[in-house]
């Protein structure tokens, strides 16, 4: 076990009673401005009424089509965005009430990795400098100690120590993502938000990075929020999966349950749309018609009703709430019982 992770466990003892993360009715709207003298002409309903909890070491997957609000949820957890309403509690503490120092501390415990981890990093710095930075910011160690830690981090993610003298552009996509992961684990976080972290990688490299994430998770009892549009990858790494559509969670279940018996018509369509690497299995697809409607004026009632083959007039009138399924999962559909 990672020495730092073991330290982390001890530190957590007093916190055991709280789930790691509690998100309640989280809502994030972005103003839409237009005109010569810009004024707010509408609001993007990026995230609406999203609730879930995450335990230590657990992985929750977030799937849904582009623009459904996945990244916004992830960023709000670290206070990269302020919530419009609702709460995010990390180890029982409301992140919206944290002062600067507390937010800095929060971002030690929650890390985020993006599709290209270097977009947010300085391209003129060596990998060594980039990886030592978290320790510098947290005022940890001497220069020699930090150099040693950087070497350990590089080894842990499967890179040679010599990488530390090289620059970001000298690395391939897969290597860059390993470096991004090394940076994310530097301070032994408790949660890593992986926002499309493996989405741009070729499959053979993607599988290397997925394996790496899973083994680090084991070692460090890391919780993960795994955001991706590829349900197969998400299912591979997640304990539970939340399916989002137009800012809302429409179904949240154990990975296996959601794949074997999806309950929400959108989840069904999403799963049916995924091509399978088996030419004998060109299944009968439920093909969703049209595009996702605009999040600026989302449809009334159930947001999915405009594309749902099971929609009835009540679906455009009443907004469904998440209901509990017999297996403990949650689904947001007025008709789930009738149609399944």
């Amino acid at each position: 076990m990672h020495a730092l992770a073991r330290l982390g466990e001890g530190r957590d003892l007093t916190m055991r009673s709280f789930p790691l993360l509690e998100v309640e009715r989280l809502t994030k709207h972005f103003p839409v401005r237009a005109g010569v003298i810009p004024r707010t002409v509408g609001r993007v309903h990026a995230v609406d009424d999203v609730s879930f909890t995450l335990r230590r070491g657990e992985t929750i997957g977030l799937v849904g089509e582009s623009g459904c609000g996945k990244s916004t949820v992830g960023k709000t957890l670290l206070r990269l965005y302020d919530a419009t309403s609702g709460t995010v509690k990390f180890e029982g503490k409301d992140v919206s009430e944290m002062n600067r120092a507390q937010v800095r501390e929060l971002r030690k415990h929650i890390q985020i990795i993006f599709q290209d981890p270097f977009e947010s990093l300085n391209a003129r710095h060596t990998i060594g400098k980039i990886l030592a930075e978290p320790f510098v910011i947290q005022k940890m160690g001497t220069a020699a100690e930090r150099a040693q830690w950087v070497g350990e981090l590089l080894n842990r993610v499967g890179l040679d120590v010599s990488a530390s003298n090289r620059f970001p552009h000298e690395f391939s996509g897969g290597q860059r993502q390993r470096i991004g992961i090394a940076r994310a684990i530097a301070l032994s976080p408790k949660l890593i938000v992986c926002d499309e972290a493996v989405s741009a990688l070729d499959v053979s490299v993607q599988s290397q990075v997925v394996n790496l994430l899973l083994s680090l998770q084991q070692e460090m009892s890391l919780a993960l929020m795994f955001i991706a549009h590829d349900l197969a990858v998400v299912k591979h790494v997640s304990d539970r999966i939340a399916v989002m559509y137009l800012g809302e969670i429409v179904e949240m279940r154990d990975g296996e349950d959601i794949y074997r018996s999806p309950r929400h018509p959108y989840t069904k369509a999403l799963i049916s749309a995924i091509p399978v690497a088996d030419p004998r299995n060109k299944s009968q697809r439920t093909i969703l018609e049209g595009d996702v409607p605009s999040p600026i004026n989302p449809p009334s009632g159930c947001r999915f009703h405009t594309r749902c083959q099971f929609a009835t007039p009540k679906c455009s009138k009443y907004r469904p709430e998440l209901e509990e399924l017999p297996d403990g999962g949650l689904v947001k559909c007025l008709r789930w019982n009738e149609i399944n």
């Binding site: 599988s207 394996n211 549009h229 349900l231 794949y259 088996d278 018609e289």
Partner: protein
């Protein structure tokens, strides 16, 4: 009947660091009405192959150094640029991953579609051409086509733009459509729409399709036969069923194993291919996959393997495929 026969196609580029041989003796044939998938990871030469067929390699840095591309009985590599222009869009059309790059942002969709049509059908009257464009947009599943004709590309969603691209590519009823990662930038639900549309249009128009993608699942979904490429070479080729039932090349097997499956056991170690694709300057001699191959032996880095026949139309470029097949059974 074979409509397109690519044989021994080699392409080189001049770069700041020197000449790179990006394609090395690539062969494949496409029969009338069939969908041939070309699959491989990024940088393996899929797009360069399609650009070479279209006569659109960037000049002067890129050039065909060997091989032939036979279309309708002629080697199109030998055609003048005027002759090639008359084949492009009429005999062979192409759609891309990012339709925005191929569409003119400041021209209405209708005008662009009309132009594609009239480049090759200058005799057709404006009214007829317009009617044909409306029909075509309807055919690719665009609602309210008359209205769409007046819109600009940015007013359309990603899926709708790809439909417009497909309409432009098909308006002259080509014999061959090259689709280079046409669904890679789209969400899965939209990808499913576009794949379905391509299958339907192929039934209606009977064209042959070269479908290029990095995604083996999409290949399984749409292809009749498949060419697997690695680092600028063909490593395996087969009809779709034998390829997925009995892949022979260690690279093909590795690729198939790397894909997480929805039906698979979660959190288990996925199969990986160690290392990464070498650059053209660090390419191993002999078999280009040899430095990542767990089965490689001394001879693998000495001799370039040629495509050997496994079964009628199943070929594999691996010197050890027979040994490996024996071990497997």
């Amino acid at each position: 009947m074979t409509v397109l026969d690519v044989s021994g196609l080699s392409v080189s580029f001049d770069t700041d660091e020197g000449i790179v041989d990006v394609l090395d003796r690539v062969d494949f044939k496409i029969r009338e009405g069939e969908t041939h998938g070309i699959v491989g990871e990024s940088g393996c030469g899929k797009s360069v192959t399609s650009l070479a067929i279209m006569g659109l390699l960037p000049k002067p840095s890129g050039r065909v150094t060997a091989g032939s591309i036979k279309f309708a009985g002629r080697d199109i590599l030998k055609l003048s640029s005027t002759e090639m222009r008359s084949i492009r869009g009429d005999g062979i059309s192409m759609i891309f991953q990012e339709p925005m790059a191929a569409l003119n942002p400041v021209q209405r969709v209708g005008n662009q579609l009309l132009e594609s049509l009239r480049t090759h059908r200058s005799d057709i009257s404006t009214d007829k051409a317009r009617a044909k464009c409306v029909e075509m947009l309807g055919h690719v599943g665009i609602p309210a086509p008359e209205q769409r004709l007046r819109e600009y590309p940015h007013q359309l969603s990603g899926g709708m733009r790809q439909r417009v691209m497909i309409a432009m590519a098909l308006v002259n009823v080509p014999d061959v459509l090259i689709a280079d990662e046409p669904t890679t930038a789209l969400d899965v639900t939209i990808q499913a729409q576009i794949l379905e549309l391509l299958k339907e249009l192929q039934r209606d128009y009977g064209m042959a399709v070269i479908f290029i993608t990095h995604d083996l699942a999409v290949i399984a979904e749409i292809s009749d036969s498949v060419t697997v490429m690695y680092a600028g070479r063909v490593v395996e080729r087969a009809p779709v069923l034998p390829l997925f039932d009995g892949p022979q090349h260690p690279y093909t097997k590795g690729l198939l194993g790397s894909i997480p499956s929805l039906a698979g056991e979660p959190k288990t170690d996925l199969t990986t291919i160690p290392g990464m694709v070498p650059t053209f300057f660090t390419m191993p001699s002999g078999c280009r996959f040899s430095n990542r191959c767990e089965h490689a032996q001394g001879r693998c880095s000495e001799t370039v393997p040629s495509l050997e026949t496994v079964q009628s139309s199943h070929g594999v470029a691996c010197m050890r495929w027979r040994d490996l097949a024996k071990v497997a059974t």
